[in-house]
């Protein structure tokens, strides 16, 4: 029977037999759960009893939950501190590293190495750094200089930046590499023309390099924003005795979802939180598309 098909028909048969399993996979493992998560967000369910219809109850509860607003705020603080910091730092490093030839490869390795580590392992290393005297490295160094101790993870004001630091640190290398690729992609003719005109480095940077790097910058901003909005591993591991603590001061949205679903077994409420996360990420991605298109 297969022999009687035209070449085009044979192609269709092949294409769909290649795609059959993947299409089932994406339907069952991606699309069905997405719909299911949205459905559960309108239900009440503690995993053991019946699923009952709740309408907008979970969303109303979320709106009136002070913990949620605290968590919402934390999530955006991670984003609003983390993204500009890592963007500025990685550009600074990439811009100068690009101008160096001596041991360039070696320096690049140093900056990239943290990207290859596991977040959980490094969260524990930083957690140790942050401990009080005589345990923690940072406070031991401070003590060596006679500087008063800093309470990093136990303070409601210091804990969030302390947890954020290793997250920025781990992502920096990737951003440096992407920035350097972007800088390399700028045609040298632009710089040669600028040199002939005799303009200074600041003009070259602001008039040529940065404008031409716009797609790279947009990519890095969105990539790191999404990363910070989804921060979990670092927070969970650096504040485990009191996840998201002290007093919820470091708790991000994903940790609240995890707690609600797998410690509190309030599946409907947790699902509503995931829908909120999804919406936030969707908006960020749409802004990215918009920014790239208007280029």
């Amino acid at each position: 029977m297969y022999r009687n098909l035209t070449i085009r028909q044979k192609q269709i048969v092949w294409a769909w037999s290649f795609l059959a399993l993947p299409v089932i996979f994406y339907a069952v493992i991606r699309f069905y759960p997405t719909g299911n998560a949205i459905l559960i967000s309108f239900q009440n369910w503690n995993l053991l009893g019946d699923r009952t219809w709740a309408g907008l109850e979970n969303y109303e509860k979320l709106w009136n939950d002070p913990t949620f607003w605290k968590v919402f705020q934390n999530t955006f603080v991670y984003l609003l501190i983390g993204t500009p910091f890592s963007l500025a730092l990685s550009f600074l490093i990439a811009y100068h590293l690009d101008k160096l030839r001596f041991m360039h490869g070696f320096l690049r390795i140093l900056y990239f190495l943290p990207f290859m580590t596991s977040a959980v392992a490094m969260a524990w290393v930083w957690r140790w750094f942050y401990q009080d005297v005589p345990v923690g490295l940072f406070n031991n160094i401070l003590a060596g200089f006679g500087i008063p101790q800093i309470s990093f993870l136990n303070s409601t004001t210091n804990a969030l930046p302390s947890v954020l630091a290793p997250a920025v640190w781990a992502g920096l290398g990737f951003q440096v590499i992407i920035f350097m690729a972007g800088i390399r992609a700028i045609p040298t003719s632009y710089y040669e023309a600028a040199k002939i005109d005799g303009v200074g480095w600041w003009t070259i940077l602001t008039q040529i390099t940065l404008p031409l790097l716009r797609p790279t910058i947009v990519f890095i901003v969105v990539f790191s924003s999404i990363g910070f909005l989804r921060i979990f591993d670092h927070v969970f591991n650096m504040t485990t005795n009191n996840p998201g603590g002290p007093l919820n001061s470091t708790k991000p949205l994903v940790l609240m979802i995890y707690d609600t679903a797998f410690n509190g077994f309030d599946m409907g409420y947790a699902a509503a939180q995931t829908v909120v996360l999804f919406t936030i990420l969707l908006i960020v991605s749409l802004i990215q598309l918009r920014l790239l298109r208007s280029n």
């Binding site: 493992i29 030839r101 390795i109 959980v120 957690r127 590499i177 992407i178 591991n237 797998f262």
Partner: protein
């Protein structure tokens, strides 16, 4: 590791820069180099301290010196004899390897099909897979958990692996790279009597090896360090992956910091070694995947 090709270029640069006229520029370059060098050293300090502490005796752990006075592998012996890390390591290796193989096969097969075949429904499949990039894992963990519960997948390798067996990211990365495979090659193979499966495997796949390698690195690293889903889906200590195991290990009452650092080192050193061996190649792969994916 200094790349051999950098050395002659660098030294000839240094020679050129001795000229008096270039002096201010030269000073600037030296300062720039020194600042970046110290910045780079700071970047690797957490890794260095992790490894250094894992080699220290307990009485020396809270000393700020980086080089242990009397290095010891006692901590590694202890951690390995404890037995749990051995299982966690093995679990992580198996899971990351199988998931990587699955992604290499399926992502490239789907990418190839979407790139090189014309058939009804192509556009819809393309857009459907593309749109899954927008769905965050965190939204899916609750339904996946319920699914695993009803199919009995909780606490099993399959349970840990199934969500990541194919990825939209990998599919698009591969699709982009198959664009560079000339249609003439495929047509020629067809005339030679190869069937479509053979063409994909013997003609197209060898031409996108760099992309496959980049994808393999990404998928392996992603699964090796994955935390949220393995944390949710595993219950018994024997089924933990390295990150889940390490997280619980660190949290145990009065476990010593040097042992936690040893566990962290055990989970980090393999990826660091792989990176140091293939670093040029990996960095190129990261750029390729970052810009095309």
């Amino acid at each position: 590791m200094v790349a051999a090709s950098d050395i002659p270029r660098a030294s000839s640069n240094a020679l050129l820069n001795v000229q008096p006229a270039r002096k201010p520029r030269n000073m600037g370059q030296i300062i720039r180099w020194l600042l970046l060098f110290f910045g780079g050293i700071l970047m690797v300090m957490p890794i260095a301290y992790m490894i250094s502490t894992s080699l220290k005796w307990p009485h020396e752990v809270y000393n700020v010196n980086l080089i242990p006075e009397e290095p010891t592998i006692e901590n590694y012996t202890f951690v390995l004899e404890d037995g749990r890390f051995y299982w966690w390591f093995l679990n992580s290796i198996i899971i990351a390897t199988l998931t990587t193989i699955s992604n290499l096969l399926f992502d490239s097969l789907v990418g190839y099909t979407l790139c090189k075949f014309r058939f009804p429904g192509r556009q819809i499949v393309f857009i459907a897979i593309l749109s899954t990039l927008m769905i965050p894992t965190e939204m899916l963990v609750i339904p996946w958990y319920l699914m695993s519960q009803s199919f009995g997948w909780l606490d099993s390798y399959w349970g840990i692996m199934f969500p990541g067996m194919m990825t939209a990211f990998g599919t698009f990365l591969m699709k982009q790279f198959f664009e560079s495979v000339p249609d003439d090659f495929i047509e020629a193979a067809r005339i030679d009597g190869l069937n479509e499966l053979q063409i994909w495997w013997t003609v197209a796949m060898p031409l996108v090896k760099p992309a496959l390698a980049a994808l393999a690195i990404f998928v392996f690293l992603g699964n090796w360090t994955a935390f949220l889903w393995p944390l949710i889906v595993t219950n018994s200590v024997d089924m933990y992956t390295i990150p889940v195991g390490l997280s619980g290990f660190g949290d145990e009452a009065d476990v010593a910091w040097e042992l936690i650092m040893t566990g962290a080192a055990v989970s980090t050193i393999p990826t660091l070694v792989v990176f140091l061996v293939f670093q040029r190649f990996i960095i190129r792969g990261v750029v390729m995947a970052g810009l095309k994916g």
